[in-house]
């Protein structure tokens, strides 16, 4: 089954080969061709800037905690606040993408949270510190717009790669900031000569400006879909302006979205937790100095350069041969191994052993994140944004849960907390066994006979809506997603002239 090339274009020609939805079927990393590759670079850079802002405080904590007279509890609470804001923000962002388009949704959120970063400069108390970290953390919802945008611009055969690279290179910000902020701080403190307590404040201008500039870049240079922005497409009738309640309903009634929200909490959520606690772990358990602990912490986040994209690419590669079932199996295996490595990390007592296990663990847990978003674009077409938002939000819920259960107070030592977190990862990953796509199958069961992609995606629209032609994009998507059957499924039924396709949950 070939993906049909668009031969009857009345509109623009694209720099890259496209499918019937005008989504690019190739991914060329070093191109900035509009609109596909440009969208990619805009989204990963802006997401990177949000990560830098959200985790700008941790590397400077030794100075901030003295300036603001913070206790360890204050610091812990601020860390939890930084990741909890995004739980609902991500779901809201998903909805906003479905309704207003990723360009407006993400640039708006980034501009809305920029004041929180600017106001960090004048924080003067533990309460103020908590508030600025909480509101800055909302910006992590740009993850959802990143994934949504990539799923709108890139065809199913490269969507895993696009999602993995944009998500991974954005997450890189969490590691890069551990190196950037101390550098900027020392430039201001040593070279310009400001006092310590002024220098850290001035240093925050850097992430704040970076974030603001990326919002402008998205607004002026970006575009929602290959054919244009939502506003224009809706006016010309090419895109139907969807109803919020319908979009929301079809997202929350799709059980697969909930399953991936849970499992994402145990790959991405775990990654966020580790970002917050790993420097202290190495500092306390192995008595390395703060500078070294910071470098180790940074290397965990920097592995995102290749590990999360690797997961996305792996998802696409496996799908060529084995389709969706291959994507699911790979996700399950990689995340299980990640859990096992986490369990091991807490048990190792030597510094070099711990660093080695941590690095391998980082690769697996981040690859699992990439693999998750190789599956997400296929769960729903109509409610892609909300599903992405739910999954992303689930990631943050996982981060809050693991920090509250295992890393707060002195109930567990940090090493025990890490091992127990590994056990929890493995238990929660088991639910992937329950995911089943009628047209493609699940981990253990094959596809149901006679069911097509159209049956699945068109069941999200009512007959009345279909009569008005609102479901066109789902039709195109169904055709393009045929390759998720893998090589074996090529001879499976195509849509015939069925009157009423059955509804699938």
């Amino acid at each position: 089954m070939e993906i049909s090339q668009n031969t009857n274009t009345t509109d623009r020609k694209f720099a890259l080969p496209v499918d019937s939805e005008h989504k690019s079927t190739e991914f060329r990393l070093f191109s900035i061709a509009s609109p596909h590759m440009r969208a990619f670079h805009l989204s990963w850079i802006s997401f990177f800037s949000c990560f830098v802002s959200t985790f700008a405080a941790p590397p400077l904590l030794p100075i901030i905690r003295d300036n603001l007279n913070l206790t360890a509890t204050d610091i812990g609470n601020a860390g939890i606040a930084a990741v909890s804001g995004a739980v609902f923000a991500r779901v809201a962002m998903g909805t906003a993408c479905d309704l207003f388009g990723p360009r407006l949704a993400s640039s708006s959120l980034i501009l809305l949270t920029a004041p929180a970063v600017f106001l960090s400069l004048i924080a003067n108390s533990p309460a103020a510190f908590l508030m600025v970290r909480f509101f800055t953390g909302f910006s992590l919802a740009t993850f959802v717009s990143t994934q949504f945008w990539m799923s709108s611009m890139f065809s199913p055969n490269v969507v895993g790669t696009a999602n993995g690279l944009s998500g991974g290179w954005g997450n890189l910000g969490g590691g890069a900031t551990q190196l950037i902020m101390p550098l900027v701080y020392s430039l201001i403190h040593t070279n310009i000569g400001s006092t310590k307590f002024t220098a850290w404040r001035v240093a925050f201008f850097i992430p704040a400006f970076f974030q603001m500039l990326s919002a402008y870049a998205i607004f002026f240079l970006g575009q929602d879909m290959p054919d244009g922005n939502y506003v224009r497409l809706e006016k010309s009738g090419e895109k139907h302006k969807d109803s919020f309640s319908q979009v929301f309903y079809h997202a929350i009634t799709n059980y697969r979205g909930w399953i991936l929200a849970l499992t994402y909490g145990y790959c991405f959520g775990v990654e966020l937790t580790i970002d917050n606690i790993i420097a202290q772990y190495f500092y306390d358990r192995f008595n390395v100095n703060l500078h070294t602990a910071g470098i180790i912490a940074a290397s965990f986040g920097l592995a995102n350069l290749f590990s999360r994209p690797g997961g996305g690419i792996l998802s696409d590669v496996v799908a060529k041969r084995f389709g969706m079932r291959g994507r699911l199996w790979t996700l399950w295996i990689v995340q299980m191994i990640g859990g096992l490595l986490c369990l091991l990390l807490g048990k190792i007592g030597s510094l070099s052993g711990s660093v080695a296990v941590m690095l391998v663990f980082s690769v697996f847990v981040q690859a699992a994140c990439g693999l998750t978003f190789g599956v997400v674009p296929f769960i729903s077409r109509r409610s892609l944004g909300v599903i992405s938002g739910m999954t992303g939000g689930g990631g943050n819920v996982g981060a809050v849960l693991t920090q509250v259960i295992f890393f707060r107070g002195s109930r567990y030592s940090t090493e025990d907390g890490i091992s127990l977190m590994g056990v929890m990862i493995m238990c929660c990953t088991l639910v992937i066994l329950l995911i089943y796509f009628p047209q493609w199958g699940g981990l253990f069961c094959g596809p149901r006979k006679g069911v097509t992609e159209e049956d699945y995606y068109l069941s999200e629209w009512t007959t009345a809506e279909k009569e008005q032609g609102f479901h066109k994009m789902s039709l195109k998507f169904s055709e393009n997603s045929r390759r998720e059957r893998g090589k074996k499924g090529e001879s499976v039924p195509l849509p015939s002239d069925k009157e009423t396709p059955s509804t699938f949950v």
Binding site: P115, I122, N124, T198, M212, N229
Partner: protein, 201 residues
């Protein structure tokens, strides 16, 4: 059995440390007296006020020989109340790992009769409750004796220092202006979008 093993290992660790050459605070004699100008509960301002400190051999301790004393350091130390829930200021008997006294305000070779000195409180001293302690070192830089302004429990003659905020009017203004600018830009975005949609219809 477990607690026995714990005790044995603690004892071994203790012995190991003393044989290792790590100096323990509990092993030091309080051979010095230290007097500092702040009175109990006084609040001093960093970057503005100063402390006058005088110190010398504690006359009440007999049989002292100060031949091995080579260097004196006077330090500003956190009182217990400022160490609560702050592991980075924790007191540890092993002086190599102790984090109670993080600021050195005087560091000179030892002389028998020293007049007091005045120290201007620097701008990077954080808001906290403090006392003053002096250490005397031998020629291989090991602590030999100490003195401090407070008692053993570190509960009296404590004083407070109010640190600077680090904020300047210029920073406050810049931060507020850019925040407003960001929000205004957002409004601008929406206006532009509305215009675009009107143009198309």
């Amino acid at each position: 059995m477990r607690s026995f093993l714990l005790e044995v290992s603690l004892l071994l660790l203790f012995l190991l440390k003393t044989t290792n050459g790590d100096v323990l605070f509990s092993s030091l004699p309080r051979s010095f007296f230290v007097v500092a100008s702040p009175i109990e509960g006084q609040v001093l301002k960093a970057g503005e006020d100063n402390i006058t400190v005088s110190f010398g051999l504690n006359q009440t301790v007999t049989n002292q020989t100060d031949e091995s004393y080579k260097k004196v350091k006077v330090k500003l130390c956190y009182a217990p109340i400022s160490q609560v829930d702050r592991k980075w200021r924790k007191t540890n008997d092993n002086l190599k790992k102790d984090k109670t006294c993080q600021f050195t305000i005087y560091d000179k070779p030892y002389e028998r009769n020293v007049e007091g000195f005045k120290w201007d409180i620097e701008k990077d001293i954080p808001t906290a409750t403090y006392f003053v302690r002096s250490y005397v070192y031998n020629d291989v830089d090991e602590e030999m004796a100490y003195g401090q302004t407070t008692n053993e429990k570190k509960s009296d003659s404590l004083f407070k220092i109010q640190g600077i905020s680090g904020r300047h009017v210029s920073i406050d203004i810049a931060s507020a202006c850019f925040s407003v600018f960001a929000l205004l830009s957002l409004v601008g975005f929406f206006i532009i979008e509305k215009r675009q949609s009107k143009v198309k219809s």
